[in-house]
């Protein structure tokens, strides 16, 4: 049978990455002074599973590397090998290394095994008795000097004995004589001697004789004891290994001797028994016949013993050969087929991402569908009631519709829950990051996680991960102080970052608190003034000052460090979060620490929308982006130079955007008076969007425009309304971009008006 193993690759990769994560987490949690055996076991198990799978699925590089890793871990598990912080570091590097190998294999590219070989060399040195640190250094030196790094200690291939070969020339081995005496309780392991005899019979011609000497009297018979033993003669050209394999599982539960039997080729025709008193079979066969016992398990025609010259090991030695029977037969054995080479990668294919769903979630879906079916059939019955529709019918119909609505809502919730994963998937990355960075910075930081089981949509989770990493790096870099500094300030030297997640309404809230030095808002303000972000005389509230943290162009220019200052700033963090229809806010206290609070919708697939019409087209605003909607009072509209308008909203000047113009829906601009203004907030800036009419608010399912078309500025997606028509979802951020310079000018004027 041929089974295409590649069909299991996706699952293998998925579980291997999960295993690596688990390994990483456990390594980070492991207390080297008192290693928890269950944790070591977990690490071992992960390596072990990856090894098993990679071997099975033909990923040799991974299998080789995990093998040595596993060997070492096994020793640690058994207490034969110690573990220290250097060791942890090496294992962590191995996790990274394996991840790299697996990622390469997943994308069907050739993995770079340089690092794996280096690490394997280190582990081998540790296995050979070195310490982790020394071994790592030795290998490092080797790497520099270019010495070979192969970990495997080469064992010389057993040289075949000339004698045995020579011997083979005249005397041909034609099979084996086997004496098999099971111990009494072999049957208890589920091993049936008949199975083994049957198996031997498949290897060649078999004569077997059961020895019943040990069978006790009936009243002493224990039902599950094995009292029989066998003498077997097998004429075969198979290898001794094949015979041993038959008895592989019971070798310690029986007395077993396997002796080759030879035929003299030159005198094959002669009837010649050699050394027949040593020939157990012959003797016992005669005995058996004499006692009237039957032969057990004859298979096929009896071998013509006449043609055989049977020899015991004694004979071989007598003939001047030093070779043991095993070696002799090994020398004669045909070369074993080598393991099949790893399957050649197929043409590049799309990687379909998948999620694992708890069976409870699926069950709840099935239940709900069941209820839906019942409701449907109930409504169906009413529909077929015919012409005689009574008030009662109508009442029932209403009831049915209410039920349908209920079913639909529950079904929707339930379907959404399928995409929900615990946030621990993201949180689990952080201990490693905190560890690595704090070491790099010479700081002492502990990370506390809570609410890891809070669930959120997989897509949201994937997108929130990077901004969170940035926040954490920031906290480590700029938040937590150096140990001396902390000590001087009367704080524990060990800093703490707390990550917490919880549900609140339809949102998930993720809080990151550090007990560092806090954010110096005055410094922020100075910097913002220097960069021209804030006017010289502009007065800001504490909140506004803190908000400057997220302004583009304020990315901590003067303290660009290796960690957080590169490329992305806090403005990107905020933008990423806003793209997820979320928000981020910060609170801080000098000397005490800061808290970042991220609020995100639980899912990106559905949003609460405000339906509006513009030029007879329906558009949807995400409700979360709307701060208010109002009737335009033309007295409050100020036309500024360049043709753009600002609106005076409670002494705050906000730019006015006309959706009909921005979207090119109408030639003539609409008269602003009595139109409706939807005030939306984006990047901390408010803009007013002019629409014709406000319709209902409803939940809409977000559909991608990009799938078949392309990204459209000012639109974040589309949805299908109740009547089957398509409506665009307005992207408040993109709208401002669409308005471009116009809005920038208006904002500047508005700012000046305030000043």
């Amino acid at each position: 049978m041929s089974i295409d193993l590649s069909q299991f690759h996706a699952v293998f990769f998925e579980e291997s990455f999960e295993g690596l994560e688990l390994m990483e987490t456990s390594l980070l949690e492991l207390d080297v002074d008192a290693p928890d055996s269950e944790q070591i076991n977990t690490i071992f198990r992960a390596a072990h599973s990856i090894k098993g799978g990679s071997g099975t699925f033909g990923f040799v590089q991974v299998a080789e590397f995990t093998h040595i890793l596993e060997t070492l871990l096994d020793k640690i598990r058994d207490g034969d090998q110690s573990i220290d912080p250097d060791g942890i570091e090496l294992f962590l590097q191995s996790v990274d290394c394996l991840r790299g190998l697996l990622e390469a294999l997943q994308t069907e590219t050739e993995p770079d095994t340089t690092r794996a070989q280096q690490l394997a060399g280190v582990f081998q040195a540790v296995l050979d008795g070195g310490t982790y640190a020394d071994s790592a250094n030795v290998v490092k030196t080797n790497a520099i000097t270019g010495a070979p790094l192969h970990a495997a200690s080469p064992s010389p291939a057993p040289a075949s004995s000339d004698d045995s070969v020579a011997n083979a020339g005249t005397r041909k081995q034609i099979g084996f004589s086997i004496v098999f005496e099971p111990e009494e309780d072999m049957l208890k392991g589920g091993n049936d001697p008949v199975r083994m005899l049957r198996e031997l019979a498949t290897l060649g011609d078999l004569i077997s004789h059961a020895n019943t000497d040990q069978v006790p009297d009936f009243d002493q018979l224990v039902i599950d004891h094995c009292y029989l033993s066998w003498d077997i003669e097998l004429v075969t050209n198979c290898d001794i290994d094949d015979i041993e394999e038959v008895f592989e599982w019971v070798e310690d539960e029986c007395e077993l001797s396997i002796t080759p039997i030879y035929a003299d080729i030159s005198s094959a025709a002669e009837l010649h028994y050699s050394n027949s008193q040593n020939h157990a079979i012959d003797k016992k066969m005669q005995q058996a016949t004499a006692e009237g016992q039957r032969l057990v398990m004859p298979s096929g025609p009896l071998p013509s013993l006449d043609n055989l010259q049977l020899a015991s090991p004694g004979d071989v030695t007598n003939n001047g050969s030093d070779a043991t029977p095993a070696e002799a037969s090994a020398a004669l054995a045909p070369p074993k087929p080598t393991a099949p080479a790893a399957a050649k990668p197929k043409a590049a294919k799309v990687e379909a991402s998948s999620i694992r769903v708890g069976i409870d979630k699926v069950d709840s879906l099935i239940n709900l569908v069941g209820e839906l079916v019942i409701t449907q059939s109930m409504l169906g019955q009413m529909g077929s009631a015919g012409d005689s529709i009574t008030d009662e019918h109508i009442g029932n119909l209403r009831e049915g519709l209410v039920q349908l609505e209920q079913n639909t809502r529950e079904l929707q919730d339930s379907v959404m829950r399928i995409r929900m994963l615990p946030i621990s998937f993201t949180f689990n990355r952080f201990p490693r990051i905190v560890r690595d960075i704090s070491i790099q910075l010479g700081k002492q930081v502990q990370l506390e996680l809570s609410g890891e089981n809070t669930e959120l949509d997989k897509t949201v989770m994937e997108k929130i991960s990077d901004p969170m990493v940035h926040l954490i790096r920031n906290a480590l870099d700029h938040g937590i102080e150096m140990p001396e500094q902390r000590k001087a300030a009367g704080k524990p030297e060990m800093g703490t970052i707390v990550l917490n997640a919880f549900h609140q309404g339809g949102n998930i809230v993720i809080e990151m608190t550090d007990d560092g030095g806090g954010i110096d808002t005055e410094r922020l303000l100075t910097k913002a003034r220097n960069n021209g972000l804030v006017g010289e005389n502009e007065k800001l509230t504490q909140e506004q000052k803190l908000d400057l943290l997220f302004s583009p162009g304020l990315s901590t220019v003067e303290e660009v460090s290796d960690l957080s200052g590169r490329g992305v700033g806090m403005d990107v963090v905020r933008r990423n979060i806003q793209e997820l229809s979320g928000s981020v806010e910060v609170s801080t206290e000098m000397g005490v620490g800061s808290t970042f609070r991220i609020r995100l919708p639980l899912t990106l697939a559905i949003l609460d929308g405000q339906l509006v019409t513009v030029a007879d087209q329906t558009y949807i605003f995400p409700l979360v982006s709307i701060s208010e909607s109002l009737q335009i009072d033309s007295a409050k509209v100020n036309n500024v130079a360049g043709g753009s308008d600002v609106y005076n909203l409670r002494d705050e000047y906000i730019p006015i955007l006309c959706l009909d113009q921005l979207f090119g829906l109408r030639q003539e601009a609409k008269v602003l008076q009595d139109s409706l203004l939807v005030v939306v907030e984006s990047e901390g800036q408010k803009v007013g969007v002019v629409v014709d009419e406000l319709l209902a608010q409803q939940q809409v399912v977000i559909k991608s425009l990009e799938e078949n078309y392309t990204r459209v500025q000012g639109v974040s997606g589309a949805t299908i309304l109740g009547d089957g028509t398509v409506a665009m979802i307005v992207d408040a951020l993109g709208l401002s971009g669409l308005a471009g310079s116009e809005i920038a000018a208006a904002q500047k004027i508005a700012a000046e008006a305030v000043a």
Partner: protein, 176 residues
């Protein structure tokens, strides 16, 4: 809506669907089957394997600031599918859309994505088979939008048919 007109559109769609069905039943090696349609009296053809379905015009939502030839998007059983007016893309003059207007839904599967797009044409015409030998290269003209999308020319019953490359058609927005 004019009931009679709607009937005609419906009939046409059904007839064409039948043609498509019949056509795909036949399976000739090195033969390609084309669905042809009319625009401004000229006959054009697309590989029938790229034709997913044919439907009437309706419920097209405009896309903000899209090029003129992009009529908008429609709801195709839950998927948002753009509709391109080929007559405008090829600059074939005025293009009115009514219930009789036909939208051919094309589907192209590339390496890792399927793209679906509707094209608006005057009317669907015929299905014919073509061996590769019958296909002539496109004329070497360098004007107008259409030449980019022309795969070749052929003659059916004494009439020229312009063969279009569906794949290139479907990626036109991506390449912009």
């Amino acid at each position: 809506m004019d009931v009679a007109k709607q009937d005609t559109a419906q009939n046409m769609i059904q007839q064409t669907a039948a043609m498509v069905d019949q056509a795909s039943d036949e399976d000739f090696e090195d033969q390609q089957q084309y669905l042809t349609f009319l625009m401004q009296g000229e006959e054009y053809g697309v590989d029938i394997l790229n034709v997913q379905e044919i439907r009437g015009w309706g419920n097209v939502a405009p896309i903000p600031n899209a090029p003129k030839h992009v009529s908008g998007v429609i709801n195709l059983r839950g998927a948002i599918v753009p509709v391109i007016d080929l007559r405008l893309l090829f600059e074939l003059g005025d293009a009115n859309c009514d219930e009789n207007t036909v939208v051919i839904v094309l589907k192209v599967a590339t390496e890792n994505v399927n793209r679906i797009m509707g094209i608006v044409v005057d009317a669907v015409s015929d299905v014919f088979s073509l061996t590769l030998a019958d296909k002539r290269p496109p004329p070497n003209v360098n004007q107008g939008m259409s030449h980019t999308y022309i795969d070749g020319l052929t003659e059916v019953k004494g009439k020229m048919v312009i063969l279009l490359d569906s794949e290139r058609l479907l990626h036109l927005e991506k390449n912009d």
